[in-house]
Symmetry: C5
Subunit: 155 residues, 5 copies
C-alpha cells in the first residue's frame, strides 16, 4: 500500500485537490490518499514536509493557483523553490500543479485548465510511483499538462 499526499490551498479558485483525488481513485487500487489544505502556495512546502514526515506519504501532489500580479509571481517562485528544497530533504517527489490566473482569458476556461492539469499531473504522480517505465517511454515527446501536448520536434 502506497500513500499519496494532496496539498492544496483555500486561495485557489478551483478545487484542484478534489480533481486530483478523483483522478487517482480512477487510476487504480492499492493506494491511500491523505489531504491537507493550507491558506496559500507559500504554505505548501511545509505542508508537503508534514505529509512526508507525519503521514508517511510516498509522493505528494501540491496544487495551487497563483494570481496574475507581479507579487503573485514572486510568491509562486518562492513556493516552487521551497517545494524543490523539500523534495531534496525528503528524497521524494512533489508534483507541483500550479495554474496561474493569467493562463486563461475567462473563468470557465481557467476552471477547465485547472481541472485538466490537476488530473494529468495526478497521473504523472501515479506513474512515477507505480509505472515509471511509462515516463521513460515518453521522454523527449513534448508532453504538456492542461493544454495540448506539443509533441516532439520535427527534424
Amino acid at each position: 500500500m502506497r500513500t499519496i499526499g494532496i496539498a492544496d490551498t483555500t486561495f485557489a479558485r478551483y478545487d484542484m485537490g478534489g480533481a486530483a483525488i478523483d483522478e487517482l481513485k480512477r487510476s487504480g487500487t492499492g493506494l491511500k490518499i491523505v489531504r491537507y489544505t493550507v491558506p496559500g502556495v507559500k504554505d505548501l512546502p511545509v505542508a508537503c514536509k508534514k505529509l512526508f514526515d507525519e503521514k508517511a506519504c510516498d509522493i505528494v501532489i501540491a496544487l495551487g493557483m497563483p494570481g496574475g500580479k507581479q507579487i503573485d509571481k514572486t510568491c509562486a517562485h518562492e513556493a516552487s523553490t521551497g517545494l524543490i528544497q523539500c523534495q531534496l530533504a525528503s528524497g521524494k517527489h512533489i508534483i507541483e500543479v500550479f495554474v496561474h490566473e493569467d493562463e486563461a482569458n475567462d473563468e470557465k476556461t481557467l476552471a477547465w485548465l485547472a481541472d485538466r492539469r490537476a488530473r494529468e499531473h495526478a497521473l504523472n504522480a501515479y506513474n512515477l510511483l507505480f509505472r515509471p517505465d511509462v515516463l521513460v517511454k515518453n521522454a523527449g515527446k513534448g508532453m504538456r499538462q492542461g493544454y495540448e501536448d506539443v509533441g516532439a520536434l520535427r527534424e
Copy 2:
C-alpha cells in the same frame, strides 16, 4: 496547551502583532502566546527559528510591512524565502502576514488592511493548529486575507 509565536517588526507602521494577539485571544482558550519583535522583515526568519527552538512554539505568525520601493520588494522576497526555509527545517508552519506599503493609497486604508489581514491570518493559524478541517472545507474557494474573498471561479 499549544504555543503560538508572534514575530513582528519595529519597521512596520502598524501594530500588526498586537492585532494578531487580540484576535487569537478572542478565538479560544488553551493557547499560550509568545511575542518577539525584531527590527525588520529580514530578521523574521531567525526570530521564528528562535520561537520554535527556544520557546517551543507550535506555530508562528510572522508579520511585517515592507516598503514600496524595489529594494523593499527584494527584502520581502529574501525574508519570505527564509521563512520557507525555516518552516522546512522545523517542520512547523509560519503564517506570513506581509502588507506592502503600496497596497493602499492612503495611510488610513493601509492601517485598516494591516489590521484585518493580521486578524484573518491569525484565524488561519488557529485553524491550522486546532481545526484543520475548516481549511479543507474551504479548499479552492478563493479565500483572501485583508481585502474581500474573490470566491470560486464561475464555471
Copy 3:
C-alpha cells in the same frame, strides 16, 4: 565500474537522454548507465537525488528543454538552483544540459542543438569521472557545448 545517471523529461521535445546515453556508450567501457525520466525540469533535482541515493550513481547528467516564455525561464532557474543544492548535498556532479526553446529559430536546428549539446556534455561527464586532466588542459579555452567553441581571448 562507475555508474552514470541520466535524468530527463517528458516535457522536452527531443530525446536528449537517448543522445547522451548513445554518446556515453561510444566513449568507453567500464560504466553502467541508469535512466530516470520525470515530467519536467523542476522534477529533475529530486530525480538526481534519487539516482545518487537509490541507484548509487557517481555522476548524473540532467537534461531538459525549457520553453521560451518568462514562466519557463523562471522554472529553469528554480530547477538549476535545485540541481546545485543537490550537488552540494551529495558531493557529486550533476551536469546540467538545458536547451532553451528560443535558442534556435526552427525546429530542425533546435533538434540538432539538443542532440549535440547532450553529446558534448556527456563527454564532459565522462571526462570528469575518468579523465579530469582533459578538463584542466582546456581551462580558459572558451569551450562551448552545442554551438561552436568561442576560444580563448585574443590578447
Copy 4:
C-alpha cells in the same frame, strides 16, 4: 559576558565596522567585540559563520556598502540570502547593515548615512541581546535606521 561579532568589508567606502564598534562601546559594558574583515559583501555570510563557530559570538553585525549598478544589486541580494541562511543554521541573529551607494547623491551624505545606520543598527543588536523589551515596545512604530523614522500610520 556576551560576544558581539563585527563583519565588514574592504569594498565599503566608509569604516562602518569602526562606527558600530564605537557605538557598542558607548552602549554598555559586559560585552566583548570581535572584528573580522573580508573583501566584499558576498564573503560576509561565511565570515559570520566563522564568528559564530570559531569565536563564539552571540550575535553578529554584518556591514557592507554595495555599489549602485545592477550587478551590485545582485551581489547584495546573494549576500542577504546567505546571511539569512547562516542565521537559520546557527539560530542566532545577524544584523545586516547595508548602505547602497545610490542611497545618497553626494559622498558626504553617503558617509553620514553609513555612519548613522551602522550606529543605529549597533543599538538594535545591543537591544536584541540585552534589552529585547525595548524592541517589543517599538513594534509597529515605523522605525528606520539612517534616515528619519517614518512613524506609525496616521489612522
Copy 5:
C-alpha cells in the same frame, strides 16, 4: 602547511586559474595548491565542495567568466548562490572571481582585467589565510579587484 584550492572552468576565455596560481606562488611559501577544472560556473559550487572534502583545502578560489547575455547573468547568479551555500556548509571561504564578458569593450582589455582580478583576489585569499590583519586595516577603504580602487568616501 595550508592548502589552497583553485576551481576554474573550460568555459572561461582566459586562464584565470593559471594567473591565480602564479600569483600565489609569488606570495609566499608554506602552501600547497590543488587545481580542479569543470565545464562552467554552475559546476563550481560542487567543485569547491570536493576541494574541501576530498582534497582538504583550507580555502578555495573559484574563477569564471560568465557571458554577456541575460541567461549568462542568471547562470552566474545561480553559481554565486551555490558558492555561498557551499561556504556555509563547510565553514570555509571561497573567493569568487568572476569577470563578466561585458565588463570590457575589447578582448585585450577583458584578458587584462581577468588576469589582474584573478591575481588581486589570489592575494585576498592569501591574506585571509595568513594575514587577516591586512584586511582589517583596509576595512572601509573602497578596495576593488581588477580596475582601480575607488578609495574611501570624501567627507
